[in-house]
Every structure is written in structure tokens, then in C-alpha cells.
């Protein structure tokens, strides 16, 4: 077996060259800089480290980032499922355009999204002025942050659920109907269970993106310490005060959270793929 592999390796050229370039470039651009972050945060003594990340302002920013990303992820899970369903199952005019629009949040620079959303939801904006009489404030509150994160997260759930729904075996559904199940029951008992892995994957992707998001949020969030200051913004603030060690410490915690989510996403995707293959 090893002889076979070794022979194969020799058949195609470029193994050393391409792995060499890949590993070098990866180390220079990604790995060494990320290692610098961890090393820099170790400038602080354990006590300083702990007092940095347990500071009420820092804790409040973590909580805000996590909660708004969670809410946005949940909203996207519901509407992402609905959009995927409508796009796969129904026909309606303009469907191709709607399908293309789903990807817009990927392609639109976050700063553009940020100023547009804050113009819409500011008290004198199109939607903000409609809500104002009811005493609902969106811009410069956590609701505004959540809306920005919903915008950013739209494509994740739709694009993970859509292919699974497309490949869904109509036979199973038909069998359920022939056995006397009603539409809603068929959906709940036959279709929905198949969609759980992609829904969770999409949710986790949107959630992970939301925790770190900066550009689309800073304009609409108001950036009040303890109230509407997200964790990435706090890192920027610490940097502007030249508190490099503290900035690094706040960042390391955020980074660890993101990596744990990435790990979870990989597990979910493997689960989802396995289910697809056995189905």
C-alpha cells in the first residue's frame, strides 16, 4: 500500500513545490500573526489577564455580542428555512432575482450595509420614523445590532438548507401522504427531521459570523459602553488607547469562541453529509 502511494506521488509533479508554497504562505499570513496574538496577550500576568476579561465593560460586550448574534441566528433560521422552502418548492415571477438577492449580504461591503441600515432605522429614517410614535427605538439599541446581524446572516441558512431540500426524496413524502398523513404532519414528521442538520449548520455559521461582525454593526449600534458596545468594537477602543495587551486578551477569548464554533460546524457538516449519503 505504501509503495503504491509513494509511486503515485511520483507520477504527478509538483508535490514539493505546491506544499512548500502552501505551508510557507499559510504560516506567514495566517499562523504566525495569529500566534503573535496569543503571545502578546501573555504579556499580561494571569491576574491582569483575568481582571481584563472579567471587567464589567468587557463582560457586557461579550454578552451583547453573543446575545444579538444568537437572536439574529434564530431569526435567520426561521426565515432562512422559509426562503429556502419557497425557492425550492414554489414557482413565482422574479424567482431568479430573489435567489440572486439572497447572496447580496456576502457581496455588499459591510460599511455600505451599515450606513444604509442606520439611515433606515434612525429615528428620522424610513422605518425608524414609523416606529418612533410607538416608542420603539431600533437604531442605537441592541435591536439595531440584531437587525444588522440578521442582514449579514441571511445567506447562511438559505444556502445550507436549499441543496438538502432540493435533493429530498419525494418518495418518502409521497409514502407519508399515502399513509394518510396531512401536509403539516408530513412536514413535521418526515421533512423537518431531514432539515435539522443543515438548519443547525446554517445557524452556527450565521452565529459565528455575527459574533465577530464589525462593519455593519458599528454605524447602527450607538457604541455606548455597557449598553451597545460589541466585543469587536471594544478591541478597537483598547487599541486606540494603546492597551495592546488588553486588546489581545479580549481578542483571544473571542477567537477561542469562534474556533469552538468552527469545530461544531465541522462536526455538524459531517453529520449532515452522512445523513445525505444514507438517505
Amino acid at each position: 500500500m505504501t509503495a503504491l502511494i509513494r509511486k503515485k506521488r511520483r507520477v504527478l509533479p509538483g508535490f514539493r513545490l505546491t506544499t512548500g508554497i502552501t505551508v510557507t504562505y499559510l504560516s506567514l499570513i495566517v499562523l504566525i500573526p495569529l500566534a503573535a496574538l496569543v503571545v502578546k496577550s501573555a504579556d499580561l500576568s494571569p491576574d491582569q489577564w483575568w481582571s481584563t476579561i472579567s471587567n464589567p465593560r468587557v463582560v457586557a460586550s461579550y454578552r451583547l455580542s453573543l446575545l444579538t448574534a444568537l437572536c439574529a441566528g434564530l431569526v435567520n433560521m426561521v426565515f432562512g428555512l422559509l426562503l429556502a422552502w419557497v425557492l425550492v418548492r414554489y414557482k413565482f415571477p422574479g424567482k431568479a432575482i430573489v435567489d440572486g438577492l439572497i447572496d447580496l449580504p456576502f457581496a455588499l461591503p459591510t460599511a455600505v450595509a451599515g450606513i444604509a441600515l442606520s439611515a433606515i432605522y434612525a429615528p428620522n429614517g424610513w422605518v425608524g420614523s414609523l416606529l418612533e410614535p410607538f416608542g420603539i427605538k431600533v437604531a442605537y439599541t441592541p435591536i439595531g445590532i440584531t437587525i444588522a446581524l440578521i442582514f449579514i446572516g441571511v445567506p447562511f441558512v438559505v444556502r445550507t438548507v436549499q441543496p438538502v431540500l432540493q435533493d429530498f426524496d419525494k418518495g418518502t413524502e409521497e409514502a407519508a401522504v399515502l399513509l394518510g398523513a396531512y401536509r403539516w404532519r408530513t412536514f413535521r414528521k418526515v421533512i423537518l427531521p431531514e432539515l435539522v442538520p443543515p438548519l443547525l449548520t446554517g445557524f452556527a455559521l450565521a452565529f459565528a459570523r455575527g459574533i465577530g461582525e464589525y462593519g455593519s454593526v458599528v454605524f447602527i449600534s450607538g457604541n455606548m459602553p455597557l449598553k451597545t458596545e460589541i466585543a469587536p468594537l471594544l478591541i478597537v477602543t483598547k487599541l486606540e488607547q494603546f492597551e495592546y495587551g488588553q486588546a489581545a486578551a479580549v481578542a483571544v477569548v473571542l477567537l477561542v469562541l469562534s474556533f469552538l464554533l468552527l469545530l461544531l460546524i465541522n462536526v455538524l457538516q459531517r453529520w449532515s453529509n452522512r445523513r445525505l449519503r444514507t438517505a
Binding site: F15, T18, I29
Partner: protein, 290 residues
């Protein structure tokens, strides 16, 4: 994180038989809610950008775009993309070749590491370069002694952009080349073709649309990146401002129309990106079926 989600193949769904679909009323309500959501969350911001950009008329719009600072920002954005996209393309090709054509230990780890930048907050992507090259950073004193500026200058902006757009091309090529296997290349080699020629004549024609797809997405992100670039740029007008940073400055100075005018330029880029992307998707699914 955009690249993690792969696009579904487009397929014409035949009308579902009646017992397998919902009553018409339910269908219309569901379509209505879905469109309302998309309209409010995605379409409305686009409309706002255009309306606000032209609020003070065509002349003001042109003036905002021909402002020297705006032009300098445009130039810097183009330069950044012109460096970051080709480098990441070369890297993506090498990584995809190594990963899909050979078996070696640590391959899964390598694939995971390539994805890493998608999981990192843009702000942290900028921060890491400040920690390396900033005045208080690891190489800061040495760079200062030699009069080299990386952070708060163009090199830092390019580096941060490269980090953020690092995985795009590789992510697109790896699954594509995985499905194509190694038979074609092995046949070419056994017929006597040498390395570079195998790549150019055999591999490249098979992956050209996927490669272009990855480059388009990489470019869109490179030109639109805000968070990472904002941390390393130092916001020096006319010097270290890219277009997204210029938008921020104008907005914070309450020059809303000008800010939205510049935004409309970047929105045009986004719409063009999506159009090319869907064209490429059609082409790829057609060549897939053929």
C-alpha cells in the same frame, strides 16, 4: 465565512403534484412572508443607498465621486485588490493542487487551517498585524530603525486584506478538483507531458470557471473589507483610506449624500459580482452535466 457555503446546483423543479404541495392560499402567504422579509432586510438597504446618493442631485453625486480624497481611496482600493487577489489565487492553486493530487499526512489539518481566516473576526485580522508590526509590536522597533512603515501604511492594508480573503480561491478549487480526480493528469504525464504543461493544458481548462468564481468572490471581499483594514489603516485622508474607510469618514462628518454616493459605487461592484457569479454558476452546472 462566505466560502464555507457552497451554492446549490440550479435545477428546474417541475410543478409538484397536488397531493404533495400546499393549498394555493398557504403557498401565496408563505411566498408573501418570505418576500416581505427579504424586501425589508436586503432590498430596502439597496434602495436607500441609491435614493440617498442622489438626494442632492446628479451634480453633487459627481462631485462626491470626483473629490481628490475619493479618487485616492479608489486608487488604494484597486492597488490592494490587485496585489491581494493574484497572490491568493496563486496560493489557492498551489493549495488545491497539493491537497487534491497527493496523499499525505496532516492533509485534513491543512484544509482546516486554510479555513481559519473565515472564523476570525475582521477586527482581530487587523489587530494581529498591529501586534507584529506596530510601534509596540514584535518587529516594530526594528522596522522603525530601518525606516520601514507597514502598519498605518499601504503594506499593512494589503496584508490585512490578504488575510481576510485568504481562503476564497482555495475553498472554491479544492472540492472542484477533488471531484475531477487525477486520471487526466496521470494520462498526460504518461504521454510525456511535464509539470507546468500538465497544469496548463489539462488541469486549467477543467477548473477555469471555478477558478474565476473564486477570484470574483475574493475580489469583492478585498475591495469591500472594512473592519480589518480600518484597524491597520490609521485613517490618513488621501493616503491610507480605502473606499469603505472613506465612506465611514464622510458618514461621521455628516456628509451623508457624499457617503452614499461612494457607497453606490461599491454597491455596483457587489451587484456586478453577483451577476458574474450566477453566470459562472450556470456555466459550471452546464459543463458538469455535459
Amino acid at each position: 465565512m462566505a466560502g464555507i457555503v457552497t451554492n446549490p446546483k440550479r435545477r428546474n423543479s417541475e410543478a409538484a403534484p397536488r397531493h404533495l404541495t400546499e393549498p394555493a392560499a398557504v403557498r401565496y402567504i408563505l411566498i408573501g412572508i418570505a418576500l416581505l422579509f427579504l424586501g425589508l432586510i436586503v432590498l430596502l438597504p439597496m434602495v436607500t443607498v441609491i435614493v440617498e446618493a442622489f438626494r442632492k442631485g446628479w451634480a453633487a453625486y459627481i462631485e462626491a465621486l470626483s473629490d481628490p480624497d475619493a479618487l485616492a481611496a479608489l486608487r488604494l482600493t484597486l492597488v490592494t485588490a490587485l496585489i491581494a487577489v493574484p497572490l491568493n489565487t496563486i496560493f489557492g492553486l498551489c493549495a488545491a493542487w497539493a491537497i487534491t493530487k497527493f496523499k499525505f499526512r496532516g492533509k485534513n489539518l491543512l484544509v482546516t487551517l486554510i479555513d481559519l481566516p473565515f472564523a476570525v473576526s475582521p477586527v482581530i485580522s487587523g489587530l494581529i498585524y498591529i501586534l507584529l508590526f506596530g510601534a509596540q509590536g514584535f518587529f516594530g522597533p526594528w522596522l522603525q530603525d530601518h525606516g520601514i512603515k507597514i502598519v498605518f501604511a499601504t503594506p499593512g492594508i494589503v496584508l490585512a486584506t490578504m488575510f481576510v480573503t485568504f481562503p476564497f480561491v482555495a475553498r472554491e478549487l479544492i472540492p472542484l478538483m477533488e471531484t475531477q480526480g487525477v486520471q487526466d493528469e496521470e494520462a498526460a504525464v504518461s504521454l510525456g507531458a511535464r509539470g507546468w504543461r500538465v497544469f496548463r493544458k489539462v488541469t486549467l481548462p477543467n477548473i477555469k470557471w471555478g477558478l474565476l468564481y473564486g477570484m470574483i468572490l475574493c475580489n469583492a471581499r478585498a475591495m469591500g473589507e472594512f473592519g480589518a483594514v480600518s484597524v491597520v489603516s490609521g485613517h490618513i485622508r488621501g493616503e491610507t483610506n480605502t473606499l469603505p474607510l472613506h465612506i465611514e469618514i464622510l458618514y461621521n462628518e455628516y456628509q451623508f449624500s457624499a457617503s452614499f454616493a461612494v457607497s453606490s459605487l461599491l454597491m455596483l461592484l457587489a451587484v456586478l459580482t453577483l451577476l458574474i457569479k450566477s453566470l459562472l454558476e450556470n456555466r459550471m452546472s452546464r459543463s458538469h452535466e455535459a
